[in-house]
C-alpha cells in the first residue's frame, strides 16, 4: 500500500444526478443493509446462532432418543405419549442459548457504531435520527427473523429426525406444532430487537450484552428460586417464560397462552426500543 506523492485531482466532476425528493427511510435502509453485511461480526454471530441452536436441539433429541431406547418396553409404552407431547419443544431447546447469540448481534448492531465512533459519521450524513435508528432496527430485525425462522425450522426437522428413530417425534401438521416452530423464529427476532433497544439505551457493547443476558437468562434462572405462592404470579411475566410460551408448548396454568405470552415479550422489546429511540433523539451523539 503506497500513498506517495499523490496529486490533488479535480474534485468536481458534476456527475451527480440532480437531487430529487429528500433523503429518507429508503436510503437509510440500503445503508444499514450495507453496514450489516460488510462486517465480519455479523457472519460470525449468525453462524454461531445457527450452529448453537441446531446443535443443542439435536443433542437434546439424541439424548432423549437414547434414553427412550434403553427403557424396558413397558416403560416405553408409558413414556411415549408424554415424550411425543414434548418432542417439538425439545428439538427447539437450542433457542435457550440461541437467544443469547442473537442478543449479542442485536446489541453489537448499534453499540459497535458507538465504540468505533462510526455513529458520529453516520449522523453527519443522515442527521434525522428517528429515520436512522428505525432503518437500523428494521434491517436487523428482518435479518434476525429470516435467520431465526431458518434456524428454528432446521432445528425442528433435525430434532424430529433423531426422535423418529424411536417413534417419539411430532409432525409439523399436528395442532400447535407449526405455530411453535414459526414461534421459535419470532422469539429469536424479538430477543435480538430487545437487545438492540438496550444497546440504544446503554450505547456500550458489554453493558448492553450484560443487560440482555440478565433479562433473558439470569431472570429466568432466578425465577426458579421463587417460593411457589410468588412464582404463580410472577413466573409468567419473566421475559423468557413469556416469550418462550410460543414454542415451549407449556400447558401450565401459571403461564400465558402462546400468543399472549409472545405479546408480553414483544411489549418488553417495544419498551426497550421506544426508550432507546427517545434517548437516541435527545442525547448528544
Amino acid at each position: 500500500m503506497t500513498t506517495t506523492a499523490l496529486p490533488v485531482r479535480q474534485t468536481s466532476h458534476s456527475t451527480l444526478p440532480a437531487a430529487r425528493g429528500r433523503a429518507g427511510f429508503g436510503g437509510a435502509v440500503r445503508s444499514e443493509l450495507t453496514k450489516i453485511r460488510s462486517v465480519r461480526s455479523t457472519y460470525w454471530s449468525l453462524i454461531a446462532l445457527v450452529v448453537v441452536t441446531i446443535g443443542i436441539g439435536a443433542l437434546f433429541a439424541f439424548g432423549k432418543a437414547q434414553n427412550f431406547s434403553q427403557m424396558p418396553p413397558f416403560a416405553q409404552a408409558h413414556a411415549r405419549a408424554q415424550d411425543i407431547s414434548q418432542a417439538t419443544a425439545q428439538s427447539l431447546f437450542g433457542l435457550i442459548l440461541g437467544q443469547l447469540v442473537i442478543a449479542v448481534l442485536g446489541a453489537l448492531t448499534i453499540t459497535s457504531e458507538y465504540s468505533t465512533g462510526m455513529m458520529r459519521t453516520s449522523l453527519t450524513v443522515m442527521p434525522r435520527r428517528g429515520v436512522s435508528l428505525a432503518a437500523k432496527a428494521v434491517v436487523f430485525g428482518t435479518i434476525a427473523l429470516v435467520v431465526g425462522l431458518i434456524t428454528s425450522f432446521v432445528s425442528y426437522f433435525v430434532g424430529q429426525a433423531i426422535l423418529s428413530t424411536q417413534h417419539i417425534n411430532s409432525s409439523i401438521g399436528q395442532p400447535g406444532v407449526l405455530r411453535a416452530v414459526i414461534g421459535g423464529g419470532l422469539f429469536l427476532a424479538v430477543c435480538g430487537l430487545l437487545s438492540f433497544g438496550l444497546g440504544a439505551i446503554l450505547r456500550h457493547t458489554a453493558g448492553a450484552i450484560t443487560a440482555s443476558i440478565g433479562l433473558l437468562f439470569v431472570l429466568f434462572i432466578l425465577s426458579g428460586f421463587l417460593p411457589y405462592n410468588w412464582a404463580v404470579h410472577i413466573d409468567k411475566w419473566i421475559p423468557f417464560n413469556a416469550g418462550g410460551a410460543i414454542w415451549e408448548n407449556q400447558s401450565g396454568t401459571a403461564m400465558f397462552s402462546p400468543w399472549a405470552g409472545f405479546a408480553v415479550f414483544c411489549g418488553y422489546a417495544a419498551i426497550a426500543l421506544v426508550a432507546g429511540l427517545l434517548l437516541f433523539r435527545k442525547r448528544d451523539a
Partner: protein, 316 residues
C-alpha cells in the same frame, strides 16, 4: 453559508461554547482558530447537529442541518477521521454513507480516485495509516459534491507530505468556489490558506476579520538591540516614546520605534550597540497573545508572551 446566533453549549459545569454569533461566508476559506479546548470541535458538532445547543441556533443555508433535504449534497464534514468501523472496507464505508443520501454507487469510485485510495478500496480501514485514514474521511466529505466543507484540525498528526496534500486540496476546493470552514490551533497553518479568520478562545469569539486585517493589526515592527549599556538605551528610547524590554542574554526588544530611529538615537546619545536588527512579530505570536488570556490550561513555566505587553483587543 453557516450562521450561528447566540450559540451556547454547556456540558455539566463546563461552558464549552459561549454565546457565539458568526457567519461563514460562501466561497471563501474561513479559518477557525483557537487553542486546544477553545470550543472549535464543539462548535462544529453543534453545526452538524451532533450536539444539541443549550441555547441559540445555528443554520446551514438557512435551515438547521437536520432539515436539509440531502445533507451530504450541502455539507461535507470531516470531524474525526478515526470515526469509522475499522472492520469495514474503505469502499463499503463510503457506500453505506452514499446510500443514505441516494447518491449513485459510481460516486464512491470517483471519490476514492480523487483521494488516491482506489488500490486499497477493498481493504479494511483498520490497517490504514493516519494519512490514509484522513484521505478516507475526506473522500466521505466529498461524496455529495457539497458546496460547504468542514474540516476539524485536518492536518493534525500528518507528515509533511500529508500536510501539503491537505493544503493543496483545500486550495483546489476553494478555487472551485466552495465554502471551506477549517479549524486549527496553528496560525501558521491558516496564514497561507485562509481568507477569513475566526479566532475563538474559551468558547468565545475573540476576533472575526480577514487574514489581511489580522496581519495588519498584529504584525507590529520591533527592533532587536544588543548593548552593553541597557540602562542608557532604555532611558533614551523611553524619552523618544518607545518601549523596551530585556529578552535575556543582553538582548533588548524595542517597540514603537523603527531601526533607523533606534540607531540614530544610540549614536546621538553615545550608546554603544553590538547588534541592531528589525524583527517582525510573527502571526503565530500575535495569535498566541490574542488567545493567551483565554488558554484553558497554562503551562507552569513563564514564557515570553507572559512578559510581553498584550496587544489583544486591537482586532476584537
Amino acid at each position: 453559508m453557516i450562521e450561528a446566533r447566540g450559540l451556547t453549549k454547556r456540558y455539566g459545569d463546563t461552558l464549552a461554547v459561549d454565546d457565539l454569533t458568526f457567519s461563514v461566508e460562501p466561497g471563501k476559506i474561513t479559518g477557525f482558530l483557537g487553542p486546544n479546548g477553545a470550543g472549535k470541535t464543539t462548535s462544529m458538532r453543534l453545526i452538524l447537529g451532533l450536539d444539541h445547543p443549550t441555547s441559540g441556533t445555528v443554520t446551514v443555508n438557512g435551515k438547521p442541518f437536520a432539515e436539509l433535504a440531502h445533507p451530504m449534497r450541502e455539507v461535507g464534514a470531516l470531524l474525526d477521521a478515526k470515526a469509522v468501523h475499522g472492520g469495514r472496507s474503505a469502499y463499503n464505508h463510503l457506500l453505506c454513507l452514499a446510500e443514505t443520501n441516494n447518491l449513485p454507487r459510481r460516486r464512491v469510485d470517483e471519490v476514492l480516485a480523487m483521494v488516491g485510495l482506489t488500490e486499497v478500496a477493498g481493504k479494511r480501514s483498520k490497517g490504514f495509516s493516519l494519512g490514509m485514514g484522513q484521505r478516507l474521511g475526506i473522500a466521505a466529505a466529498l461524496l455529495g459534491d457539497p458546496a460547504i466543507l468542514m474540516f476539524d484540525e485536518p492536518v493534525n498528526g500528518l507528515d509533511p507530505e500529508g500536510i501539503l496534500w491537505i493544503r493543496n486540496l483545500m486550495k483546489a476546493l476553494a478555487a472551485e468556489g466552495r465554502t471551506i470552514f477549517v479549524s486549527s490551533h496553528l496560525m501558521s497553518e491558516m496564514e497561507h490558506t485562509a481568507d477569513h479568520l475566526l479566532v475563538i478562545g474559551r468558547g468565545r469569539i475573540i476576533s472575526d476579520c480577514t487574514v489581511a486585517e489580522f496581519i495588519a493589526a498584529n504584525s507590529r515592527q520591533s527592533v532587536r538591540v544588543r548593548t552593553p549599556q541597557p540602562g542608557e538605551l532604555a532611558r533614551v528610547v523611553a524619552a523618544a516614546g518607545g518601549s523596551v524590554h530585556e529578552d535575556g542574554d543582553g538582548l533588548m526588544v524595542v517597540q514603537g520605534l523603527d531601526v533607523t530611529q533606534v540607531g540614530d538615537l544610540a549614536f546621538e546619545n553615545a550608546v554603544r550597540l553590538h547588534e541592531l536588527a528589525p524583527a517582525q512579530a510573527s502571526l503565530e505570536q500575535a495569535f498566541m497573545e490574542l488567545t493567551a488570556s483565554s488558554v484553558q490550561f497554562h503551562a507552569g513555566v513563564p514564557t515570553e508572551r507572559d512578559r510581553e505587553p498584550a496587544i489583544a483587543g486591537k482586532v476584537a
